[in-house]
């Protein structure tokens, strides 16, 4: 290659699920543990091909989703960037260890390709029914980062983002896709090395005797050494003190809980990702995420052709809910339309932020079908 000339970017015609793998590998993922389930299985299958060929990649098919998350957390504690992917029923099984990962502050990425539920539901149909489960599915009070993607390129990008946030904040990150995004093939561009950022967890530099694994830091995120690197410490799902030892002393319990919320909440602006499309002068604003955001974009364009000032707020972060972005569009839009393939899981967040200011119209569909642009257009024209 001629010196000075930039390397050409690689392009692929890939599924959303395949793009997740591309993103994960760019982000430095070196461990995948999972259990097959439609419509997420392609992620696992491509990982099975790719990881053994990587320098330090490990791929494991586990006996179920509980075990998958256990192995992923184990690998994360051992220093790997680790992930798993699943869908509805498997996501329910993963909740136990999602909470454990929160408690021991193990970075990991969990991709949930949403399908129709509850229970076995509609295995091959799209849905967005796991949004609140992603936020609150595991027991106990906890903070949670939940991201989404609406097209194939975003699957790649948001997977990198998910890994970066997981490492930066020492927390599990859930990436919610839906069957449509996961199973659509599109052209994706693999970014060049200088075009994306990769964040690696902070490791301790002090001598092991001084190290306290769950100690307060400026960012609220304690440094994390890999197991076996000379820092011997205790990790437990029990509420623990800065040394990692179980405690039930109220002040120590409060300190831990407060820090675990604060380490994410104080970075709300950095964590809240969204895109505004024609929002600046919008009278009616659609708030959407996932594949529905694509229908919404089409509907907004059509509404504009008909003279209605419509806009789209596309959420890429679902939790912590991007409050500021929503408030901004509410400043001028007199109505918000929230289309979702569920009975209103994000519209309740919108209503909470809105607090009676604008008209909020939820548009819901739970029959295993995508919400079409014409349905959204109709709602825009009505409000």
């Amino acid at each position: 290659m001629a010196a000075g000339r930039k390397k050409k970017r690689k392009e692929l015609f890939a599924l959303g699920n395949e793009a997740v793998v591309e993103g994960a590998l760019l982000a430095g993922c070196s461990f995948y543990g999972g259990y097959p389930i439609t419509p997420s299985s392609e992620i696992m299958e491509v990982m099975a091909q790719r990881l053994p060929k990587n320098d330090n990649g490990v791929f494991l098919q586990m006996e179920d989703e509980i075990a998958s998350m256990g192995a992923v957390i184990g690998a994360s504690l051992a220093g790997c960037k680790a992930m798993t992917a699943t869908s509805g029923p498997g996501f329910s099984l993963m909740q136990e260890h999602l909470g454990y990962a929160c408690m021991v502050e193990a970075p990991l990425v969990l991709v949930n390709v949403m399908r129709g539920g509850p229970s076995t539901g509609l295995p091959t149909s799209p849905a967005q029914g796991d949004v609140q489960q992603a936020r609150w599915g595991t027991h106990g009070d906890h903070s949670m980062i939940v991201l989404s993607a609406s097209n194939v390129q975003e699957c790649l990008e948001m997977t990198i983002t998910a890994f970066n946030m997981a490492e930066k904040y020492r927390t599990p990150v859930v990436l919610l896709l839906d069957e449509i995004t996961a199973h659509t093939r599109e052209k994706i561009t693999i970014p060049r090395e200088d075009e994306y950022e990769v964040f690696n967890r902070v490791v301790p530099t002090m001598p092991p005797e001084w190290y306290k694994p769950f100690e307060e830091t400026v960012r609220g995120v304690p440094p994390m050494p890999p197991i076996g690197s000379g820092y011997r410490f205790h990790v437990t799902g029990l509420t623990h003190d800065p040394n990692g030892f179980p405690t039930s002393r109220p002040e120590e319990v409060a300190d831990l809980m407060e820090r675990m919320f604060r380490k994410i909440d104080q970075f709300l602006p950095q964590v809240s990702l969204y895109e505004e499309y024609l929002c600046a002068d919008a009278d009616v604003c659609v708030v959407a995420y996932g594949s529905v955001a694509r229908s919404a974009e089409y509907a907004v364009e059509q509404a504009r052709e008909r003279g209605v000032k419509a806009g789209l707020l596309k959420l890429k972060t679902l939790f912590p809910y991007p409050r500021a972005a929503t408030e901004k569009v509410m400043g001028h839009a007199r109505a918000l339309v929230v289309p979702e393939m569920n009975m209103g899981q994000i519209s309740r967040e919108v209503k909470r932020v809105n607090n009676g200011r604008a008209t909020v119209r939820a548009l819901n569909r739970v029959d295993g079908q995508i919400i079409t642009p014409s349905e959204i257009l109709k709602a825009i024209m009505q409000v």
Partner: protein, 203 residues
């Protein structure tokens, strides 16, 4: 990798029976259009129960600009390789959209405005293997679509295939292209004007 023709939103549905290689056809066509020609393409396909019942469907949306809604809604081109698929999807064809049939398998076309070739029979008698049928269809579509360059699509096809079956598929592709040229008539005439300006737009 230049786009030859400016496209707004062009929707294609490939449909037929499981085992006809419809999904592979869609993937190769999609990859050729996206990577070879530089268009934006979204490709979706039938999954699960829909895909198990013996039928198969693969949709592509092609555009010069960004594609918002990824699914096909009103078709510019419907390729039906079975009677069942033809019956099921004919109504999605937009006025002026083109219907391409496998003439041995679709014995009762819903209209007489269609283009057709006996793709399966051609594969058996002229290529020697029935499985090459989808590649013949690819060749024919490549002729039919004014924004597809035969050369680019052919090399796209070749790069998607293992060496062992590359030659036979190239042959099938060329055959499809040639026969379509002979049977379907001169290309610009087929897509003349906007659909609504064409005669018979009430179909």
């Amino acid at each position: 990798m230049k786009q030859g023709v400016n496209l707004e939103r062009f929707e294609i549905r490939l449909s037929g029976l499981g085992g006809q290689g419809i999904i592979t056809l869609g993937r190769v066509l999609g990859a050729g259009l996206a990577l070879g020609h530089g268009y934006q393409v979204t490709q979706t396909q039938s999954y699960g129960p829909e895909a198990r019942g013996g039928s198969s469907r693969c949709d592509l949306v092609v555009s010069s600009g960004k594609i918002s809604y990824p699914k096909a809604q009103s078709l510019d081109l419907l390729v039906a390789l079975s009677q069942e698929a033809c019956n099921a999807y004919y109504s999605f064809l937009k006025p002026g959209g083109i219907l391409v049939l496998e003439t041995d398998l679709v014995r009762q076309p819903p209209t007489n405005l269609y283009l057709g070739l006996p793709f399966t029979e051609m594969a058996a008698s002229k290529v020697g293997i029935v499985q090459a049928m989808n590649t013949i269809v690819l060749g024919a579509i490549s002729y039919l679509l004014p924004f597809v360059e035969q050369r680019i699509m052919r090399s796209s096809l070749q790069s998607a295939l293992p060496a062992k079956i590359r030659d036979v598929n190239t042959k099938a592709f060329n055959l499809g292209h040639r026969e379509a040229k002979r049977e379907f008539g001169e290309q610009p005439e087929i897509w003349k004007g906007k659909p609504e300006e064409r005669e018979g737009s009430d179909i």
